[in-house]
Amino acid sequence: MSADQKRDYGGASMAVLLIGFGAFAIYDTTGYADPDSAVFPRTVAMGLIAVSSVYLTVWLMGRADAATVWERGSWPRRLAFVAVMLIAAFAMPWIGFVPVALASFGLLMMIAMFDAWTLRRAAIYILAGLIIVFGFYGLFGWLLQVPLPRGWLFQG
């Protein structure tokens, strides 16, 4: 092993988390009314715990994989992306589909923008955004008859 290879702390901590999930699953199976529903999850959970424990042991002996190299890249943008997605999903039943879609589209556009904003670019991008949002709205809401959320806040 070369010295510059860092130990896989991330992989090991994931293994610990998976063991925790397996333990929770085994605890969960004790509450089932029908024994048929417990067999499979219990077996799999034990397998998960076993495999992850083996990985931990190997890791403790210092023979696990090398750590994955952390890519560079912007953390604020990554986090903002996830936040916008989650907020959009939670807000949709209240505010309604179209406003949320337009707002989140605009925000994500800004998060993913790496070039300088010029007036021309802004105009084209906003137009494209409108076309995409309303195009999909028409496709789903009208053609495919998907009942898109209308927003409880603005109803009666």
Partner: protein, 317 residues
């Protein structure tokens, strides 16, 4: 104070009057008919059968959409949160809406669902493959008595109409059989035809779907099914078993009674249509007519039946 009371009174009167007026105009636009299951199931098929008749009789479209999940629970938990103007209606199923809330907290209670009409049911039936040694129900019960536990039935799901029928049949016939749950009627029928099991607790609809590859031994109906005139009912054979999966239509609780009754009447009219009845019966379904005002009694009787069988079958504690 006086002013407030007067306003409230006026409001109540106007509301009642407008509800009556709304009921008179109802339906003025397309209805959104939500099926709390995925496309392709029997609930979907029966809704599709109603669709053209609704359009023909009342001039409005019945737009079917799906909200599957949790064996229907996701849809029913949401039903009372939807707009109660009569333009949003949802399919309801028995035994599901009785057993789910009895088993666990699923986000709705049985008596919170405002059912407008129970319009048909698919009767339970014992089906064997065409080459089975069981020619009659007596052959089957004899085998079960000689070999306790070795008679293996396939069926659709646990806590389903099929499963409850098996539990009740075992008790009534004094036998012990094994029930294997499959995911849906299609899988259960496949296991039957493939010889994985001795017989299937299916529905009359499985009998029509499988045609001459299968034989129906008995149906759980009051009278024989017109599509199977040669197949006896359990009652004829001395077993008091009338059961199946019932389907109806419910509205959000906030829907005015006038509209709910009007809808009930409308579904009744479709049910009375001879051509509709023929299509349903050809498909293996059986008709029932339980309008909105009889729902409470009907549901009470069925609940008792289902809960008792579920306890027997070990699904309910």
């Amino acid at each position: 104070m006086n002013f407030i009371r007067r306003t409230m009174f006026t409001a109540a009167v106007t509301l009642a009057a407008s509800a009556a007026a709304v009921a008179a105009d109802y339906p003025g636009k397309a209805l959104d008919y939500i099926i709390p299951f995925g496309p392709g199931g029997e609930s979907d098929i029966t809704a599709r059968l109603q669709q053209p008749f609704f359009k023909e009789k009342f001039g409005q479209d019945l737009v079917v959409s799906y909200k599957p999940g949790g064996g229907g629970a996701v849809g029913w938990a949401e039903l009372n949160r939807l707009t109660g103007d009569g333009y949003t209606i949802m399919g309801v199923n028995l035994p599901h809406i009785v057993l789910q809330p009895a088993q666990k907290d699923v986000g709705y209670k049985t008596d919170e669902l405002a059912v407008a009409y129970w319009f048909h049911y698919t009767p339970d039936a014992i089906v064997v493959s065409a080459d089975s040694p069981f020619k009659t129900l007596a052959d089957l019960t004899k085998f079960a008595k000689d070999n306790p536990g070795k008679l293996v039935f396939s069926g659709s799901g646990k806590g389903s109409a099929n499963h409850l029928a098996q539990v009740r049949f075992d008790k009534l016939a004094g036998i012990k059989s094994t029930y294997v749950a499959f995911k849906g009627t299609g899988a259960s029928n496949t296991a039957l035809l493939g010889g994985q099991v001795n017989a299937a607790w299916g529905y009359t609809t499985s009998g029509t779907a499988l045609g001459d590859k299968a034989r129906v031994l008995a149906v759980a109906m009051e009278k024989r099914h017109p599509k199977f005139p040669d197949v006896p009912t359990f009652k004829e054979l001395g077993i008091d078993l009338v059961s199946g999966a019932y389907r109806g239509i419910a509205v959000p609780k906030s829907t005015p009674d006038e509209i709910r009754n009007k809808l009930s009447e409308m579904i009744g009219k479709i049910n009375a249509d001879a051509e509709f009845q023929k299509k349903m019966i050809d498909g293996g379904f059986a008709m029932v007519d339980v309008p909105a005002d009889k729902n409470a009694d009907f549901l009470k009787a069925k609940s008792q039946e289902f809960i008792e069988a579920a306890k027997e079958g070990g699904i309910l504690k």
